[in-house]
Amino acid sequence: MAKQNRVSHLHQSTGKLLRQAMVLGALLTAWQLTASSGRFPELLFPPLTKVFSFLLAEKAEIWQKTGFSLSLIGAGLSTAIIGAFITACLVMIFPPLHETVMLLMAVMHPLPGIALLPIFLLWFGIGEKSIVATIIFSAFWPLLANIVTGFKTVPAAQLEVGRNLGLRGGALVCLVMLPSATPHILTGLRVGWARAWQSSVAAELMYGAAGGLGGLGWYLYKKRYMMETAGVLAAMLVIIAIGILMEQLVFNLIELRTIRKWRTASD
């Protein structure tokens, strides 16, 4: 019975991938047609061919800058994840903390990390630290919100089984709440990643180089000032591609191995 499920799942995912590819292909064709029609100057609307040749010509620099951006996100996101987990655990173990944290969240969550960048620049100076701080701030709140929701919506019966086994406090949180909250945690990770990625690029766009080499945002910034619209679009394509890769390779895989396997979330 499990094997049949796996086969039909494969069919579903292939079909879905095909459909996505079709839509993407249509969008790209639409782009190329519009660009080659000549209605818009090349500066405003470069043809896809130019964008791709740009990608190929500058692939070394794009590769390097992408790696740099990803390393910053790796540092920032992992800090945010660990911080969010610890805070969520503490909130569940010590109920008085809950109100304080929820109040903080109500104030901080709506703030885009970018808005705090000037303050971070004052505190941490110009450079990687400020960008990483922005990333951490952007990712922390959605992560925390989702993890806490996940913890709070664990069915009471499972918690009682946990307590029945003698679990309390931190052990109860880690051994019962955590696995049970997987769907919410996954959502939190998805949102946290998206916000981290966006805020890292946006921060570099706002304030130039992050570090000596800079990341994709810095690349976009340079291309803009050199009026290389094709380069700007090439960078955007890379940003989109990474987003898609992250989703398909990482999150989708996690989802398949966990909540799809356990059927704990509605499809």
Partner: protein, 348 residues
């Protein structure tokens, strides 16, 4: 299956969108005002010591004397001004010659309508051991306004001359607006040097330890226009009277500044949060020159093309400048005149 149907519908919508996009034309720019008398012009309002003539023209409403109604527009950066000129959102913008050339190379439809201000541009540091750009270590940070700015190009020119590679210092650059970089410099935090312009040069140099590492004279050899006024081809073609009014208004503002420096300083001082005496000092500093004569229009192009910032260079001045500019430069029979030579770079 419903998902196939959804995809087909999506594709239909997409094709309609494409058809719409390829079929629509760009919106025409706002027409000249209804009465045949006055014209309208859209200028990017820019602010600073190096935009004094524009500020004077605005404050004293000199444009009105020539029957010109100005629609002032605000943009966040020089890059944004360039983009606005391209998209037809703007008729006049001021910028440095290198950024203009980059835009011209990429097809921004505009040319130089007036020279504007010559100003000292210097690389300043507070670190005593840095006396020339060869002294920079790989983790020293240099601040400048943006990639492709005049500061960036001057630095690249010097880097090519003494370090052999115009991009040698590119990894140490940080793009910062002048005020932020000045704060960082004065706090001696985060950056080691700042390639900057008046009044920030003067502010920093009046502190002990702050010294010039590289001056524009050293790199370029002669004066060059720090910024120039660019007018779009469309406006120039469709509004000749508006164009002429604009040029005359700026000329008059400039003449007034040069003939009445004290009054000019008093008029502009409140805008800069300085007292009139300091404003006057800054405006008459060695090297500051408010003039519509162009300098160095062609001096950057060859270098920029060799270094890869441009794909083509202007073959003649009329490629990048309008008639009144060409008239100022002239064309001497025989050897070129001084002012013709001054469009090029004398330092090598």
């Amino acid at each position: 299956m419903p998902s196939v149907r959804k995809t087909v519908i999506l594709l239909l919508i997409l094709s309609l969108a494409v058809a719409g996009l390829t079929g629509c034309r760009q919106a025409p720019p706002p027409a000249a005002s209804q009465n045949g008398d006055g014209e309208t012009i859209r200028i990017a309002g820019q602010f600073g010591l190096v935009y004094a003539p524009l500020m004077v023209a605005k404050d004293k409403d000199i444009f009105a004397k020539y029957g010109l109604t100005v629609e002032w527009k605000e943009y966040g950066s020089g890059g944004a001004v360039r983009e606005a000129l391209t998209s037809g959102d703007l008729d006049v913008g001021f910028m440095g010659i290198p950024p203009f050339l980059i835009g011209w190379d990429k097809g921004v439809p505009g040319k130089v309508a007036i020279g504007f201000v010559c100003a000292p541009v210097s690389l300043i540091s507070y670190r005593p051991e840095i006396t020339a750009i060869e002294d920079f270590q790989s983790d020293d940070k240099i601040a400048l306004p943006s990639p492709g700015s005049i500061q960036h190009i001057l630095l690249a020119m010097q880097a090519e001359k003494v370090l052999g590679d115009p991009k040698a210092l590119d990894n140490q650059l940080i793009a910062l607006p002048h005020p932020d970089a000045t704060s960082a410099m004065l706090a001696k935090k985060d950056i080691d040097a700042h390639f900057t312009t008046p009044p920030y040069i003067f502010q920093q140099l009046s502190e002990p330890d702050y010294h010039v590492v590289l001056s524009d004279r050293e790199v370029f050899g002669n004066d060059f226009s720090f910024n120039v006024g660019i007018v779009t081809e469309k406006y120039h073609a469709e509004h000749p009277r508006g164009y002429a009014s604009f040029v005359m208004a700026i000329n008059e503002a400039m003449a007034w500044i040069n003939e009445n420096p004290y009054e000019a300083a008093e008029l502009l001082a409140p805008n800069f949060n300085l007292d009139a005496a300091t404003t006057l000092k800054y405006m008459t500093w060695e090297g500051m020159n408010y003039t519509t004569a162009p300098y160095g229009l062609l001096g950057f192009a060859d270098f920029m093309q060799e270094a890869g910032y441009l794909t083509k260079v202007p073959e003649k001045l009329s490629d990048i400048a309008w008639e009144n500019v060409l008239a100022i430069v002239g064309k001497r029979g025989g050897t070129p005149s001084e002012i013709e030579s001054l469009q090029h770079r004398t330092a090598e």
